[in-house]
Subunit: 141 residues, 2 copies
Amino acid sequence: TQDKKLTDIVIDDLMISSEKVAHVQVNNPLEHALLILVKSGYSAVPVLDSSYKLVGTIGKTRILNKVLGLERFEMEQLSEMQVHEAMYSDIPCLSKSDTFMEGLKVVINYPFVCVADENGYFDGILTRRVILKQLKRDYYT
Amino acid sequence: TQDKKLTDIVIDDLMISSEKVAHVQVNNPLEHALLILVKSGYSAVPVLDSSYKLVGTIGKTRILNKVLGLERFEMEQLSEMQVHEAMYSDIPCLSKSDTFMEGLKVVINYPFVCVADENGYFDGILTRRVILKQLKRDYYT
Ligand SMILES: Nc1ncnc2c1ncn2[C@@H]1O[C@@H]2COP(=O)(O)O[C@H]3[C@@H](O)[C@H](n4cnc5c(N)ncnc54)O[C@@H]3COP(=O)(O)O[C@H]2[C@H]1O
Ligand SMILES: Nc1ncnc2c1ncn2[C@@H]1O[C@@H]2COP(=O)(O)O[C@H]3[C@@H](O)[C@H](n4cnc5c(N)ncnc54)O[C@@H]3COP(=O)(O)O[C@H]2[C@H]1O
């Protein structure tokens, strides 16, 4: 990717591939999801089903909002609820063959974008960091 | 900023100015800080002192890590701890007169960067979104 022009770069060249992406399963309890998010340090991660198809994303804000009661955060509710009850399923998605420009457009509004194939299998994520590094490299050339 | 070249743009042209930035005070209890973070929807925000000088940043991951016990999240501890015990004070900082390029370099590793004057008074924040929008605009011209 170092020598490719921005107009020749595709999402596959830049994305973090699935095996390196922290994720949760659609039927995990929210307590498990929050633990994964806090231990990995990520604010939000993809949600997959048992066949590794992409179904949504979930983040700490969303989970904490679900348990915010009138007096306190009711953390005991987290073991009672599942990821699918709290996740966002209406999310943008790219394919590996999409262009750098299409990636740039989506990350303007999302810290990361999921990448999936035509059958919905999860391929990886495109992050703002990776887009910004590429743009900075382009500025010095 | 629409008509300025990237080489002429400075941080002041792009930053979100202080009055529009959600923040917490250095001696707030962590419980109050977490409430502000969850209600504003932001993963992390600046920390200011009572004279509105910039002292650090704080986010949900950091707060939740502080209360993660062996068995559960011990949320009751949040009213006992203050922001200054959990915040990051070793943070990058820009000034209003810094260049677009200096801003781009820092946001590669930080979702947002605080902007302060020579006396340490908080001026605003520069976000990845604002840098990405500018770069996309530059690509169509
Ligand atoms: N363990 C770590 N090591 C080094 N730097 C770290 C880091 N965790 C976070 N950062 C830095 O903080 C930024 C925001 O992370 P956040 O978790 O809010 O937001 C992340 C997270 O929601 C997701 N993400 C990134 N990498 C991931 C991964 N391997 N697995 C799952 N989600 C990931 O994509 C978002 C944007 O990531 P991006 O790299 O652009 O931006 C990251 C990166 O610059
Ligand atoms: N209320 C809202 N309305 C519309 N879009 C929203 C939004 N809250 C979050 N987003 C979107 O999600 C991105 C990540 O937000 P996050 O809170 O993790 O990370 C944010 C947050 O930590 C901080 N931030 C942004 N605006 C802020 C503000 N007004 N006050 C305090 N902190 C702010 O800067 C980081 C990067 O912000 P950026 O705009 O690049 O990127 C934002 C933006 O694209």
